[in-house]
């Protein structure tokens, strides 16, 4: 068909309308904005490509072209989703896109031509229906955007200087630390959808304590001097990015400890620097993605996934750990790839044969898929115990 530019817009937006309704319903059901965000992006990418590329490039668009055009649009969409770190889960997002694409194909090839006389000869234009559909889509997206803005949690700026804690956060809010802002005595998160950015925490029982809540984001926090754990997460899903945790001198605490979060969603720990502590980063019964962290000078294990945890340990740098570098234990399933573990020291205080300076230990009915790790600079590279498996892929 030879579309006019308006015909492309009309046809696209009218097909997007039912999808947007589905996305709104999903957003309501999941309490997540990604379906509506994805729809808005699909509209934006599609309209931009229509105006700038397809209309100029294709004076006539054969029916088969919907396949390559759809793939290009999908590529552009996913590039934006990943480029801007929009948190849309891959398969549901692909499903939503595929549903929208299929609907637009069915409507474009059969639905519109069947119900609108002259659809083809009018270049895909839908007249008043098209204008109404465009208005409805814009209204729905604008309404969603307005809702997002209205529902944005308040931003609280923590001024430079020392604030005495523990600071208990019991409402949705974004806590942003100005340069030089320090909380002494720890932070306790007790509400969903709290974000803490660029805050320095010193001391406290746990540096930051997140328990029984969802949607917590810790971004650029710096923790030191905690008596127990640096960041302590229980029964919660959390995203921890670009943090720094100093546990030097603390013999029994963990740098980051995420436990019993299975069923609360994926936990992300990305780009953190952890020094000292018994374990640098540890998960118990959690689904976690532990990526691009630097962990050193731990006294038991640098990075540990245990008690039926599942997830990836990817691209981390571990050095100078005592006993064990990476640990996959107790019915856990670990995807261990692209990690560098160096200088793991034998623990001579014990006769435990797992602690002889091993780069990766897999034990007690656990399974580790390993790929592209550098474990050579350790007394022992890998070891598995108690019906566990190390699978190289």
């Amino acid at each position: 068909m030879s579309y006019t530019l308006r015909g492309r817009f009309d046809s696209r937006l009218a097909a997007l309308l039912p999808l947007l309704l589905v996305a709104c319903a999903l957003t309501g059901a999941l309490h997540r904005w990604w379906p509506v965000e994805l729809c808005a992006l699909m509209a934006a990418v599609g309209l931009a490509l229509d105006a700038q590329v397809w209309h100029r490039l294709l004076p006539y668009q054969p029916a088969w072209a919907i396949v390559p055009l759809g793939l290009v649009e999908l590529g552009a969409l996913m590039a934006i989703v990943y480029g801007f770190r929009l948190h849309a889960p891959l398969w549901p997002a692909l499903g939503l896109f595929a549903g929208g694409w299929l609907l637009s194909v069915l409507l474009g090839q059969a639905g519109y031509p069947l119900f609108r006389l002259g659809y083809a000869e009018e270049g895909g234009e839908l007249g008043r229906v098209g204008a109404a559909a465009a208005a409805a889509v814009m209204l729905a997206l604008a309404g969603s955007a307005a809702t997002v803005v209205v529902r944005q949690p308040p931003v609280v700026h923590l001024a430079a200087g020392v604030h005495h804690g523990p600071l208990v956060i019991s409402r949705r809010e974004v806590l942003v630390g100005d340069p030089g802002a320090v909380v002494r005595g720890g932070i306790v998160v007790r509400h969903d959808d709290v974000a803490i950015r660029d805050v320095t925490v010193r001391g406290g029982e746990n540096g930051i304590d997140v328990e029984g809540v969802s949607g917590t984001v810790l971004d650029g926090v710096r923790v030191s001097g905690a008596r127990l754990d640096g960041i302590h997460v229980r029964f919660a899903d959390v995203t921890i990015r670009d943090c720094s945790v100093d546990m030097l001198g603390n013999r029994w605490g963990q740098g980051i400890d995420v436990s019993y979060s299975m069923g609360y969603g994926m936990v992300m720990i990305d780009g953190c620097h952890v020094t000292g502590g018994m374990e640098g980063i540890t998960t118990h019964s959690a689904m976690a993605d532990i990526s691009h962290n630097t962990v050193s000078r731990t006294t038991a294990r640098a990075i540990s996934m245990t008690e039926m945890s599942m997830g990836a340990v990817d691209g981390n740098q571990v050095s100078n750990a005592l006993g064990i570098g990476l640990y996959c234990n107790d019915h856990s399933m670990c995807d261990v790839r692209r990690n560098v573990v160096v200088g793991t020291r034998p623990d001579r205080s014990t006769s435990d044969t797992t602690r002889v300076g091993v780069g990766l230990v897999v034990s007690y009915r656990s399974e580790a898929q390993v790929r592209d790790n550098e474990l050579g600079a350790n007394p022992v590279q890998t070891r598995s115990f108690d019906l566990s498996q190390i699978k190289k892929s």
Binding site: S2, A63, G123
Partner: protein, 365 residues
């Protein structure tokens, strides 16, 4: 008084009738004037004459009011095979002539076309207050679909006893000259070669190779928008360039022609030579002057024309003769001023849709 009259019972009139029925008009509200009850009577003879087996049009080359479901979809249901639809997706589906004729026959029965046809040629259309008089009968809304005014034989070949028009029943002599360069000519080259003849192609210009009669954007508002904005002189030039003879690209034509050329059985010449038979694949007489009904309409109402074309509004209506109470529009070949491919099924549908839109917005309905 029946609301609407269609002058012409050929394919353009038939397509308009289907659209009017879809628009809610009953057979009793539509009068179709024409010489034949069978809407494909004239077309069938021409297709048979050139031994046409396949339509040039694609899946949407049908008489239904909407482009979907097309003939490919119909074929899928009948053959229980997805192949026609897959071929349609890549623009490679062309319905067979038999499929097309069956489709028309079905539609004719389903739409109760025969109830509306009055077997009479209309000689005169005259604008009167609140409508139009067709040989004395009054209608508020009239669509003129008179078809092609006759077969075109070049002046210099008239009276030559060897000459037959491609659209007339004929067999093939041992040596055949085919005059013309469009689809009918290309089909006749192959027919004559298949019959064992030596073929000479006489053409004034090299044929354009394209899938449809005009470039595809001219079938939609994308190409038509700019076309409608052209000044009359430019539009005449554009029409002349768009309507040059053409036939589809592809091996279906090229392979047998190349083979025959290599065997010395096919060549191109500048003028008609001493062949035993001369086939004029030169289409139809062109221009409103060749149609007595249109010529009289123009003369009596002082309608605007440009060269051979009757000047029409973008929606195929005759300018100056329509208002809030009445409509006069044109479909088929004489409507090229509004739609360059007016003599195709898509063109007939275009005029029909707009005619329906006009009468739908009229106070008299």
């Amino acid at each position: 008084m029946p609301a609407v009259a269609v002058v012409g019972s050929g394919l353009a009139g038939f397509t308009a009738y289907q659209t009017l029925r879809r628009g809610g008009l009953e057979p009793g509200q539509i009068t179709v004037f024409g010489p034949d009850l069978d809407p494909v009577a004239a077309w069938r003879v021409r297709a048979a004459a050139i031994r046409q087996r396949e339509m040039r049009s694609e899946s949407d080359g049908h008489c239904l009011p909407t482009s979907f479901p097309g003939l490919a979809f119909r074929s899928v249901r009948r053959r229980r095979s997805p192949l026609p639809l897959l071929r349609s997706v890549v623009d490679r589906y062309h319905p067979s002539v038999d499929e097309f004729l069956e489709h028309v026959e079905e539609l004719r029965a389903r739409s109760r076309w025969d109830e509306s046809v009055v077997r009479r040629r209309v000689e005169r259309v005259r604008a009167v207050a609140g409508g139009f008089e067709l040989d004395g009968e009054r209608f508020a809304h009239v669509l003129l679909a008179p078809g092609h005014p006759g077969l075109n034989v070049p002046e210099e070949l008239r009276g030559d006893r060897r000459v037959v028009h491609a659209y007339e029943q004929h067999e093939y002599a041992r040596t055949v000259t085919v005059v013309g360069a469009g689809l009918a000519a290309a089909t006749e080259w192959l027919n004559a070669l298949e019959a064992g003849a030596e073929v000479v192609s006489v053409r004034r210009r090299e044929p354009v190779r394209r899938p449809l009669n005009v470039p595809r954007p001219y079938f939609s508002r994308r190409g038509l928008g700019a076309f409608h904005r052209l000044a009359p002189r430019e539009r005449v030039e554009r029409l002349r360039s768009l309507l040059v003879p053409s036939y589809p690209p592809g091996r279906r034509f090229d392979a047998p022609l190349l083979r025959a050329q290599a065997e010395g059985r096919f060549r191109v010449a500048a003028a008609v030579n001493g062949s035993e038979q001369v086939i004029c694949a030169t289409g139809f007489l062109h221009g409103f002057r060749h149609d007595p009904l249109l010529a009289r309409l123009v003369d009596e109402h002082g309608l605007e024309t440009a060269d051979d074309w009757l000047v029409l509004d973008a929606d195929s209506a005759v300018p100056g003769l329509g208002d809030g109470t009445r409509t006069l529009a044109v479909a088929g070949a004489p409507a090229q001023w509004a739609f360059p491919a007016a003599d195709t099924l898509a063109g007939a549908r275009y005029a029909a849709h707009r005619f329906l839109a006009r009468i739908g917005s009229c106070r008299t309905r």
